[in-house]
């Protein structure tokens, strides 16, 4: 079953086509990767899905229904949660409150505050931050701030999780831990759509990968197909 589908998704910034006629779909339960050089339009595509940017041309469907035109908070409550390339956290709020906000406002059906607190506590533990639960998020390392973002996104009980460069700026050990986290999240029945530059990570965890270049889709397929695609190699390494 297709959780997310895009047809001819297009976004112009002035005269520049940031995303141009991109067709894609994400199947239920898979980890779908999105790669491409800087400026390829990857984050723009995420912004269109999550309604951070308005979609003017093309269609995006979630569980078969059009979601273009909805507001970000509505998309979140439908079951599409996201993280950000440059972490967007609530810096002066403690970890637990960052996560609690997701449980209290982002879930498809409202939760009692006791349930919301219980769920937030459980998720803080899930991402391994119980020890710093009461610490302001601004005092955490980048890795832990990213984990807060993931926990906050999970707190909204998503069906689909959009991860925008979860591993950027992390050292190899941290990348390995993050890869494990991603597969554990998948194990919870959540579909994942992730942008990543760390090739090792994306080749290992993704079932399928799509490649964008100058806003256009140039390839999609299994990691093996992508790794051997002539077009992709040209784009990444030059001729």
């Amino acid at each position: 079953m297709r959780v997310l589908e895009g047809e001819k998704v297009t976004k112009y910034f002035g005269g520049l086509a940031a995303v141009s006629n991109v067709d894609f779909h994400v199947d239920k339960g898979e980890i779908f990767g999105l790669i491409g050089p800087n400026g390829a339009g990857k984050t723009t595509l995420f912004n269109l899905i999550s309604a951070a940017l308005p979609l003017k041309s093309g269609v995006i469907k979630f569980r078969g229904e059009r979601i273009s035109g909805l507001k970000p908070h509505q998309i979140c409550r439908l079951g599409v949660a996201r993280t950000f390339q440059a972490v967007k956290i609530f810096p002066n709020m403690p970890v637990i409150q960052n996560v609690l906000l997701g449980s209290m406002f982002g879930t498809p059906t409202a939760m009692s505050s006791a349930d919301a607190t219980r769920q937030a506590t459980e998720l803080v533990e899930f991402v391994g931050l119980s020890a710093v639960s009461a610490t302001s998020v601004k005092d955490l390392t980048l890795l832990n701030q990213k984990r807060v973002e993931v926990a906050r996104a999970l707190a909204t009980k998503p069906e689909l999780l959009l991860l925008d460069e979860l591993m950027a700026g992390l050292n190899p050990t941290e990348v390995a831990q993050s890869m494990e986290l991603v597969t554990t999240i998948q194990g919870r029945g959540i579909t994942i759509f992730m942008i990543e530059h760390v090739m090792k990570a994306i080749m290992n965890v993704c079932g399928r990968i799509m490649v964008l270049h100058h806003g256009e889709k140039i390839a999609d397929g299994t990691p093996q197909e992508i790794a051997t695609s002539k077009k992709v190699i040209e784009v990444y390494l030059g001729e």
Binding site: P72, H73, A81, K88, F90, G102, F105, G106, R152, T156
Partner: protein
């Protein structure tokens, strides 16, 4: 903060609040003449400042529309004061300010930072000019007379409004809405993508915060007896709440109360004792506070407390 200190602190605080309320409620019995009048002014500034802090404190959106909501209240009283009983007029004034703020919020809360501040201030000037045009050209007058109420009545109404403002501010701060407002101030985009209906939260809170400003304007009008658009929409009243909140410290509820009380008292003393140098001295005090007490008086108190209690007490 450990549990023992919370348990011993709570009854103490409640007792303190109760004592202050008791003293305020019985004020006209032991202090006559000028004191209730002065206290009315101070309470008015507290109401305006706390109302401002309800919205602008957590979100960081600097609203300069306080004078507009206050003026709406004043004109409500001027127009309806003779026709309807006092409590009804005050309620209508609150409702009118709520509606004006709802409209303004819906139009302007998409603006950020300085643009929002400028637009809200423009609103004060706009309403004043339109009203002036209307009064002179349509109704054929410039000012209006307002029904007179006794000083005690004005004082007690203001006291009730003060208590209501504090209760509303407290409950918003400790509610789900308060958490949403803080998240907007911290990172609005992240809040939206975490399921917070940011527009709704901002507009509703902004409108609620205008209610008591309008209501206090209505009761203040009865003390002034004659009002015109210049008096009712005095731009100074847009800046005072901001200054008083910064003076006291924005993070807590008692900060703005202390800031408003002290500055309002200072203003009153300076205008009566040094009418010519009042603005000069007032300005110097403000500059000193902003330069040396960036967290307001509350910041000073908290730093002093840390020193007294021997260093680290867990914050938050």
């Amino acid at each position: 903060m450990n549990i023992a200190s919370v348990i011993s602190k709570k009854p103490f605080l409640l007792g303190l609040v109760g004592l202050i309320l008791l003293l305020l409620a019985t004020l006209p019995f032991y202090a006559t003449g000028y004191t209730p009048i002065l206290m009315t002014t101070i309470l008015m500034y507290i109401i305006m400042t706390v109302s401002w802090v309800i919205f602008s404190g957590p979100t960081g959106y600097i609203s300069l529309a306080s004078a507009a909501f206050f003026g709406v209240g004043i004109y409500t009283m001027a127009i309806l004061g003779k026709a309807l009983p006092l409590p009804v007029v005050i309620a209508i004034a609150g409702a009118a300010s709520f509606l004006v703020a709802l409209l303004v919020g819906a139009l302007t809360l998409r603006l950020k930072g300085i643009y929002f501040a400028i637009f809200t201030f423009g609103l004060v000037v706009l309403i004043k000019e339109v009203l002036l045009y209307w009064e002179i050209n349509i109704t054929g007058t410039r000012g209006r007379f307002v029904v007179l109420e006794s000083n005690e009545t004005v004082y007690y109404v203001m006291l009730i409004l003060f208590v209501l403002t504090m209760l509303v501010a407290y409950f918003i701060q400790h509610s789900k809405l308060g958490l949403a407002l803080r998240s907007i101030g911290e990172n609005e985009e992240a809040a939206a993508h975490t399921g917070v209906n940011v527009t709704m939260v901002k507009v509703i809170t902004y409108a609620i915060s205008a209610i008591f400003v309008g209501a206090s304007g209505a009761i203040m009008a009865t003390r002034w007896t004659y009002i015109d658009p210049y008096v009712a929409f005095n731009p100074i009243l847009s800046f005072m709440p901001v200054l008083m909140a910064i003076f006291g410290g924005v993070g807590t509820l008692y900060g703005p109360v202390i800031g408003a009380s002290m500055l309002a008292y200072l203003q009153e003393v300076l205008t009566t004792r040094f009418p010519y140098y009042y603005m000069l001295i007032f300005g110097a005090v403000l500059i000193a506070v902003i330069l040396y007490l960036p967290n307001g008086l509350v910041g000073l108190v908290q730093r002093g407390w840390k020193r007294v209690s021997g260093g680290q007490i867990a914050s938050t």
